[in-house]
């Protein structure tokens, strides 16, 4: 008998620090087994929201249910089934990686296999290293490992790939997908667009404590700018109408000698066919699908990587 409808159910969450509203009326529903991304610039309230979700902070208003459980009232159960990776966690400098993993493993009744976990996270050769000798990326991966070591039903990962090199980042993504495939629900706080597009089934965009958009990554992209862009260098000048008359094309622009065509559907084929029919050739063709980043800029008016000077509370 399933007493809950979604893995994570947050409704009308509100949290303030004095006069500053960190989280304002956030509602989110995450289905079991999905990877749910929370995106937003620094200070948007992402970390506050998930700290409320795992019971580290008490919300001022709203309700939170993880698999139907309240993070405070049912905290014993919550701690058993929710694995957490916090942004700012350190460990004693003079403990070895393996010792930290063994300690945390002993906290859970059905722990994961340490060797499998460290293999996937590229920590297998680091088990005898002191924590203080680990690089920033290795510390980050250890932190992810500790979040997953209790075989959680829900894993909450806050900026899990920050500080990782591209290869380590892709390896971590694979692990997360693998974990999800085993049925774990994953709540991912990130500001990497690539990460969200690759991993997330749904994404919530948060800015200034509010949700500005909630959709699949592809849906958000389409919502931001309906279409794709083809950019090329024509072999000779031509009349724009050659292309604007095509049903797939919505706009033609010039960028120096380059032409940028925006449209939908089989845009590339249509453009290239029309050019060839007119005796022209297209060189240096690039097809740009608009990205989540574009969506973000469009929806929030801010660039993701810009530092918010005010209210940098995450």
């Amino acid at each position: 008998m399933k007493t809950y409808t979604s893995a994570v159910e947050i409704s009308h969450l509100r949290k303030t620090y004095g006069k500053l509203v960190a989280v304002d009326d956030v509602s989110v529903s995450v289905a079991e087994g999905e990877i749910f991304g929370i995106l937003g610039p620094n200070g948007a309230g992402k970390t506050t929201a998930i700290e409320c979700a795992v019971g580290l902070r008490r919300p001022d208003a709203g309700t939170i249910r993880l698999l139907g459980l309240d993070p405070h009232a049912d905290r014993d159960t919550i701690h058993e089934i929710v694995g957490v990776q916090l942004q700012t966690t350190a460990f004693p400098a003079k403990l070895r990686t393996g010792e930290i993993l063994e300690e945390y493993r002993s906290f859970y009744r059905r722990p994961a296999d340490v060797s499998e976990l460290v293999e996937a996270l590229g920590l297998a050769g680091k088990l005898r290293d002191y924590y203080r000798s680990l690089s920033g990326g290795q510390r980050q991966r250890l932190s992810v490992a500790l979040a997953l070591i209790g075989r959680p039903r829900i894993a909450v990962l806050d900026e899990m790939t920050t500080g990782l090199d591209p290869q380590a980042r892709r390896d971590t993504w694979e692990l997360i997908e693998h974990i999800r495939d085993r049925g774990t629900t994953i709540l991912l706080v990130t500001h990497f667009m690539e990460e969200a597009e690759r991993l997330c089934d749904h994404v919530a965009l948060i800015d200034h404590g509010r949700i500005v958009a909630l959709d699949t990554p592809a849906g958000l992209t389409a919502q931001a700018r309906g279409g794709k862009t083809v950019r090329f260098l024509p072999s000779a000048p031509f009349d724009d109408r050659l292309l604007t008359e095509l049903p797939e094309v919505s706009r033609v622009e010039h960028d120096g000698q380059h032409v940028v065509v925006t449209g939908t559907g089989e845009l590339v084929n249509a453009v290239l066919f029309a050019l060839r029919a007119a005796g022209l050739e297209a060189r240096d063709v690039r097809l740009d699908a608009s990205t989540l980043e574009d969506a973000f800029v469009a929806l929030t008016g801010t660039r993701l990587h810009e530092e918010h000077k005010e209210g940098a509370l995450t």
Partner: protein, 576 residues
Amino acid sequence: MSLHTLAAPRAPRAAFGKIVLNEARLAWRQPAGIVVSIGLSLLLLVIFGSIPVFQQTSSRLGGLSAFEVYIPILISFSIGVLALAYLPGPLVSYREQGILRRLSTTPVPAFWVLAAQFVVQACLMLIAVFLLIGVSVAGYGAIAPRNPGGLVLALVLSIAALFAIGLSIAAAARTSGAARAIMALAFYPLMFFSGLYVPDADPAARVREHQPLHPARRDRAGDPGLDARPVPPGAAAAGDGGVRDRVRVPGQAFLPMGVTQMDSFTGKLAVVTGGGSGMGRELVRQLAAQGCSVAACDWHPDAVAETAALARADTGSGVLVTSHACDVSDEAQVLRFRDELLGQHARDHVDLVFANAGIGGGNSFVNDTREEWERTFAVDFYGVYYCARAFLPLLIASGDGVLVNTSSVNGLWAALGPGIPATAYGAAKFAVKGFTEALIEDLRSNAPQVRVAVVIPGHVGTDIIPNTLRAHGTGPERMSEAELEGTRDALVGAGVLAEGASAEDARRLLLQGIKDFKDKAPVSAAQAATIILDGVRSGAWRILIGDDARMIDAAVRAKPEASYDYTELFSEVPAP
């Protein structure tokens, strides 16, 4: 699937073991705390154990050596370092680094880390305690703890108290830097109160002054002289200093063997005049019993020879007790005594001189003979004076000499009561007190290696009366008929004997009086000797013996004008 199957899971108990294991690893890998708390205490223990003088037992320390007294202090030092310097650090940094926050998202309660720290620290403390006690008992022959229950209770209370302080620091400090600062501020005053060190020559007095509940305060209430409550006769006779002497002065062992205190008489050489009886005899016996060689003299060679024989019975090897015939009122005899004892003891200095010999007599300047008056004054003052002349250079040569001159309550108050003047005795005893007090400044300026003390006994059970009679040519047994009749007339005149009493009545009364003076005294000669030796060890310069002496001292200070109006003088003096 129902989540009820997951209801109220608890973290596996094995998790606590893992946390303890990791905390123990951290303690081992960051050994500063262990090194300081256990290593430093052990090092101090080994150093103290290697200093011969710290191994000498002392009656002042209740028969313990300074080394033994230091063991519990080092144990508390060890616990204090762990609880204050080491315990707060990890806890504060765990909070600072978010480790506790991270833990609070797991099934394990964050306080398990606190408990694990407690287990590790308590184990370290037990190791420290066992090591310190083990090394001192096995390596340095300290006595094993005699009260295990008390030891455990003391340890539990010390650990609880110091942990509470350490944890309070951990709770109050926001950063590990702040914790270190608070710890440093708290540590040194705590060590001060624990008695580890006191920046003062007389720690006991300073601690008593500031700490009304400090155990040391119970003792030595009499100030500036010493308390003279009688002790059980056995205690003093056994030569262990008596019950009153079991004073623990924690910081004392840290003091250098200086001029202000004398830890022990062991190995020293003392000169005692008037050693044939009374306080002199008991001084000889107690000094010898404490490992001090003694050269005793007396006007009666047989009596002082008997004293020496008694003293030798109580002593071990290496202690030499010699007896010498000497009339201290004759400077030539004093010098001969000096040369004789230096030869027999094969020494070039003496450490202690007790100018104790004294007699009564010459009470009335009006009636008594000039010869009697001058003989009394000569023994009582010039005996002290010639000894000072003869022995001061030898005391200076000691480097740590003490000259102890016996005055009297009649050095404070020149009467014996209504109808009993004390002109010769009082004059001599005032002179001794004045001379000795004057020497304080003289020696401080010109011979700081030597200090002086003046003994002011009240009624002490000695043979001073028969000695006095013999010194002036008459023992009560051998009084002529005429002398006895004169005595009878004097006693009848004083109202002590009834009209019509016979000369034999007077002799009996005299003999009974002599016996009662000795046997019914409030302070025995042995107790008086213990008080004198206590006073010398403690560095006191003014040693009052007996409640009567303290009462008269207080009375003549309070009402100097009424000193000889006896009713008035003693009217408001509270019974001691």
